[in-house]
C-alpha cells in the first residue's frame, strides 16, 4: 500500500499541524463552524427582515440565538431525546429496512460465484469487495432513511403532536440523528459479521495430499501439495518433521510429518492479517553519494493530488504545490541509495530479528533478464558511526509485499575490521535508532521507494480487530451522512433533501479533482479548464492541452465563468468531509495492514465536528420554520 504524507500524521499533528497551523484540521473546523454561524445569522436576518421589517428581523434572529443558549440547550432532556430516537428507530424498523441485511447476505452468496478464485491475492479481493459493498450500501441506506423521515412527518402532520409538547428543536434533531444512527448500527453489525464469516470461510481450504516428496541433504524433505482452489504449494520439511509451504496467493500452510510417515497439511495462514508497521524516515543518496531530497524522478506521477491535506492554507492560496508523495528512484550500480532511519529499535520489540516488509517499485531502462527480476540489497547501519552489516541481497518482488527477517547477529564491518556484529549493541545509537540502506544491484536499472515502501513489523494485530476498525470507519461515514440527511430534511422536502445529501457525498468524493482543477487554473496549466471550457472542448473535439480555439472575448468570458464555478465548487468541497480518506481505510484492511489508531481517531473527531455543525444548522432551520405552513 502506498501512503501519502498526511497518512503518517499522528492525531495531534493532524489536529494542530505544528508550525503550519493554517493547514490544521482544527482551524478548518473552527472556520467552518464560525462561517456557518455567521452565514446562518446573515441569511436568517435577511429572511426575517423581509418578513417583519429590519428592526423585528434583528429581534427574531437574536431571539433564536437566545433561545438556543438559554432554554433549548439547557432544557434538552435526555429522556425526550431518547424517546424521539426510539421512535425514529421503530419507524425505520417497522418500515422493514432490515430487509437490506437479507439483501446483503444474498449479494454475498452470489458474490461467491463471481469473485475470481484465480486471483493472485484472493484475500485482498474478498476483503475489499465486502468492505466496499457494505460501505456503499450503508451510505445509500443512511441517505434514504435520514432524508425522508422528517419531511414525511411534517407532510402528514404527525409532527403537530410532537411540537405541541414541550419538545425542543434540539431534541427533535438529536433524536432523529441518534435514532437513525442506531438503525445504521443495527444493520452494520450483522453485515459486518456476515462479511467476516464470508471472508474467513471463503479463503479457507485444505490440501489433503502430498506428491513428489523427495529427500534432500540433511534429512530435509521437499514436496508438493495437491491442487486445490486453483493452486498448489511446494514445501520443505526439516528433519524434526516440521515444515512450511511456500507462499502462494498470499498464504502458506504448516506441513508436519507424523511418526507414521503421513503428512498433515494445516489450514492456510498469513492470508488474513493486520501488520503493525513501524515506519522510518527516508532520505536518498544520489549516484555520487550526496544527500538528495527526493531521489531520481522517472516520471510525473506526483503532478496532481494531495492538496486536501493543506486545509485552509490551500484554499486561501498560501499553499500551492501538490502534496503527493512520489517514488524516489535509486540507480543501480552507483553510490545511490535510499536510507531509512527507524526509531525504537529495541530487543523487546524485535526479540527474534527484524521482520521487514518490502514493497518497492522497479523501473527498467533496458529489458535485462525478464525472468529473474531486479536485484537489490539491504544493509543495516549505525546512524552516526561507520559501522554496517554486509549487504543482504534479494530479488525484488514488484507486486507483492515481500516479507523478510533481518538477523540480529550478522557479519559486518566496524570501519576497521570485519567481524560478527550484534545489531542492538553495534548498530543502534543512543536514541534507539538504526538505519537500513536500500540499494539497487543491477547497473542502469532503478528501484523506487517511498517512506511506506519499507517498514519494520514489530507486531501484528488480529484480522478480526482490523475488520472491526474498518467497519468503525464505515460507521463513522454512516453517522456523517445521517447527520447531513437530517440537516437537509429540516428545510427541504424529502427527495430534495436526499439529492442534496447525495450531492454533498459525491462532491466530498471528488474533492481532490476539484482541488486539482482549481490548481491548474491558478498556475495556468492547460488541462481542459473548468466545466464550461471542458464542455466546449468536448463539443469541438479539441484536445485537453491545446489552446482554447474560440475568439478572444468568448475565451475570456468562458474562463472567467469557469474560474467562478470552480472556486465556488472548491469552497463547497473544502467544507465537506473527506470521505475518500474514510473509505480508504478499507485499503488498509485489504492490504493486511493494521488501520492506524491515529487515522481512526482523526475520522472520529472529524465526524463529531460535522455532526455538531449539522446539528446547529438543523436547529436554526427547524426553529425558524413554520411547522404548519
Amino acid at each position: 500500500m502506498f501512503l501519502q504524507p498526511d497518512d503518517f500524521w499522528s492525531f495531534k499533528e493532524w489536529l494542530l499541524r505544528p508550525n503550519a497551523f493554517l493547514e490544521s484540521a482544527l482551524l478548518q473546523g473552527i472556520v467552518l463552524i464560525v462561517l456557518a454561524i455567521v452565514l446562518g445569522l446573515i441569511v436568517g436576518y435577511i429572511i426575517s427582515s423581509a418578513r417583519y421589517g429590519p428592526g423585528e428581523g434583528f429581534y427574531a434572529v437574536a431571539r433564536a440565538t437566545r433561545d438556543l443558549l438559554r432554554f433549548d440547550l439547557p432544557g434538552t432532556s435526555f429522556r425526550r431525546v431518547m424517546a424521539l430516537a426510539r421512535l425514529a428507530f421503530k419507524e425505520a424498523i417497522r418500515r422493514k429496512v432490515l430487509f437490506v441485511v437479507g439483501l446483503f447476505v444474498v449479494v454475498l452468496l452470489l458474490a461467491g460465484w463471481y469473485l475470481n478464485p484465480e486471483s493472485d491475492d484472493p484475500a485482498r479481493l474478498y476483503i475489499s469487495f465486502v468492505l466496499t459493498a457494505t460501505n456503499y450500501l450503508i451510505l445509500a441506506l443512511a441517505l434514504f432513511i435520514s432524508a425522508f423521515s422528517l419531511p414525511a412527518d411534517i407532510k402528514n402532520r404527525t409532527i403537530y403532536t410532537i411540537v405541541t409538547k414541550p419538545v425542543r428543536a434540539t431534541e427533535i434533531v438529536l433524536g432523529r440523528m441518534i435514532g437513525f444512527i442506531g438503525v445504521g448500527t443495527l444493520m452494520l453489525v450483522p453485515m459486518g459479521l456476515a462479511s467476516y464469516v464470508f471472508v474467513v470461510r471463503g479463503l479457507r481450504h485444505t490440501h489433503n495430499e502430498v506428491a513428489d516428496v523427495k529427500e534432500t541433504s540433511g534429512g530435509r524433505l521437499v514436496g508438493e501439495t495437491d491442487y486445490v482452489q486453483m493452486h498448489k504449494h511446494t514445501f520443505t520439511i526439516d528433519s524434526d518433521g516440521l515444515g512450511l509451504t511456500d507462499i502462494v496467493r498470499g498464504h502458506r500452510h504448516v506441513v508436519t510429518r507424523d511418526s507414521d510417515g503421513t503428512f498433515t497439511i494445516g489450514p492456510p495462514t498469513g492470508a488474513l492479517r493486520a501488520r503493525i508497521p513501524s515506519y522510518g524516515e527516508i532520505e536518498f543518496l544520489d549516484r555520487s553519494g550526496n544527500v538528495d531530497e527526493k531521489g531520481i524522478d522517472v516520471g510525473n506521477e506526483q503532478l496532481a493530488g494531495g492538496y486536501g491535506s493543506a486545509g485552509i492554507a490551500r484554499f486561501a492560496g498560501i499553499v500551492r504545490e501538490a502534496r503527493k508523495m512520489q517514488h524516489g528512484y535509486v540507480e543501480g550500480g552507483t553510490l545511490g541509495a535510499a536510507i531509512y532511519t527507524f526509531d525504537q529499535v529495541t530487543p523487546e520489540r524485535y526479540p527474534d530479528g527484524f521482520p521487514i516488509d518490502i514493497s518497492i517499485r522497479a523501473y527498467r531502462s533496458y529489458k535485462g533478464d525478464i525472468e529473474s527480476g531486479l536485484r537489490g540489497s539491504l544493509t543495516m547501519k549505525h546512524p552516526d558511526k561507520p559501522i554496517e552489516s554486509n549487504p543482504i541481497a534479494f530479488v525484488v518482488d514488484e507486486y507483492d509485499i515481500d516479507e523478510k527477517v533481518l538477523p540480529v547477529e550478522i557479519e559486518g564491518t566496524d570501519g576497521e575490521q570485519t567481524r560478527m556484529l550484534n545489531a542492538f549493541t553495534d548498530l543502534v545509537n543512543e536514541q534507539g535508532q538504526m538505519q537500513i540502506i536500500l540499494k539497487c544491484l543491477d547497473r542502469s536499472q532503478y528501484l523506487g521507494a517511498t517512506k511506506s515502501s519499507l517498514y519494520l513489523r514489530p507486531s501484528e494485530n488480529t484480522f478480526a480487530w482490523n475488520m472491526f476498525k474498518a467497519y468503525a470507519s464505515i460507521w463513522l461515514q454512516m453517522a456523517m451522512v445521517t447527520a447531513f440527511g437530517v440537516m437537509f430534511s429540516t428545510f427541504l422536502s424529502g427527495p430534495v433533501a436526499m439529492v442534496a445529501t447525495a450531492a454533498c457525498v459525491l462532491l466530498g468524493f471528488s474533492a481532490e479533482q476539484v482541488y486539482d482543477t482549481r490548481h491548474y487554473i491558478d498556475v495556468g496549466i492547460s488541462r481542459g479548464g473548468g466545466p464550461i471550457e471542458s464542455m466546449v472542448r468536448i463539443l469541438r473535439q479539441d484536445a485537453m492541452t491545446t489552446e482554447l480555439d474560440v475568439d478572444t472575448i468568448a475565451a475570456k468570458v468562458i474562463k472567467t465563468a469557469d474560474a467562478g464555478i470552480v472556486y465556488a465548487l472548491d469552497a463547497i468541497a473544502t467544507s465537506l468531509p473527506n470521505l475518500p480518506k474514510m473509505v480508504g481505510t478499507a485499503e488498509y484492511a485489504a492490504s493486511g495492514i493494521d488501520i492506524f489508531a491515529a487515522l481512526l481517531a482523526r475520522h472520529a473527531f472529524a465526524t463529531a465536528g460535522y455532526c455538531l455543525l449539522a446539528f446547529l444548522v438543523s436547529y436554526f432551520f427547524l426553529k425558524s420554520r413554520e411547522i404548519a405552513a
Binding site: 402528514n156 409532527i159 403537530y160 414541550p166
Partner: protein
Amino acid sequence: MANDATVVADSAGIQSSPTPASPAVGSGVVIETRNLSKIYRDFWGRKKVHALKSLDIEVRQGEIFGLLGPNGSGKSTTIKLILGLLFPTSGRVLVFDKDATETQKNERIGYLPEESYLYKFLTAEETLDFYGRLFDMSGAERKKRVDELIQLVGLQGARHRQLREYSKGMTRRVGLAQALINNPDLILLDEPTTGLDPIGSREMKDLILSLRDQGKTVLLCSHQLADVQDVCDRVAILHQGELKELGRVSDLLKVQDVTEVHARGLSEDAKIEIAEVIRRHGGTVESIDNPTATMEDLFLNIVRESEARPGARRVSSTGESAAGNTGSSEGA
C-alpha cells in the same frame, strides 16, 4: 301520550327560560390574542390568503370557549397560531402570559388536532407512553397515567393493537388520550367530534364538561353547531378571517321576547286554559305542542335500551314507541 307540553308564548312578561349552570369562571386570562393577523404567502412572498384579520379575543381560566365559523374562516389558523405552529404576520398571541412560540408553555397544554396525526406503527399503549416521555415523566408515572387514560377513553381491549388497525373513532380516542397525558390546564380541541358516532360524540361532550368542572380551560373549534351550543360557555364566530360575534352562548341564543314553559301531566283543558291566560295578559300564543326530541337523544336512548335488553327490538310502523321512549327521558 300528550302529557308533556311546551308552551311558547310571545310575551316579555314571563321570565322562565332555563339557564345553564354557570361555570366557575376565574378572572385569569389564559389565552390572549392582540390584533392577531396572518397572511399566507407563496414561495415568492406574494400574498395568497389573508387568513386572519386583527383578531382580539381573550379566553379566561375555567371556561369552554368555542371558535365557530364555516370552512376557511380562520378557526384552524387561530389554533395553530396559539400553538406556535404558525408565526403571526402581525400582532401577538400570549398563552399563560408567554409568547406562543415558546415551547415551555406546552408543559400545560393539551392539543387534539383536527385529525389524529399519530404514528400508525405504534400501539395505543406505546403511543401514550411515547408522549408521556416527551413530558419527561418518570416510568412509574407514565404507566399510571397511561392506564388511567386508556380506561378513560375506553380502549382497554385494543391497547396492544397498532393504530393502523384502528377505526376512525378509536384513533380519535387515542388522540384525545394523548392530549390529556400531561393533565393539562389548557386543552385545545380542533373539531373534537368529527369522526365520532353519536355515543362517542356525547361522551366527548360530557368529557369536555367534566374537564371544565375540574377547573381546566378548553378552547374548541368546530362547525358542528349543536356541539358548540351544548358545551360552550362563550363563543367567537369567525367569517373570512374576521371576528363577527363574541359572547356568552346563553346570551347570544336567548330570544328575548319569547317565553318557554315546560310542564308535564297537563290535560287538554288545562292547555286551553293556559292559552286563555296568555291571551288575557296580552301575549300571543305561537304554539302549544308536544316537544320533539333531537335525533341524538332518540339514538342514544335506543342504544341504551338495547344494551339493557339485548335482542330484536319491536319496531312499530308508526314510530310511536320511539317517541314515547324519548319523551319519558326528556322530563327528567
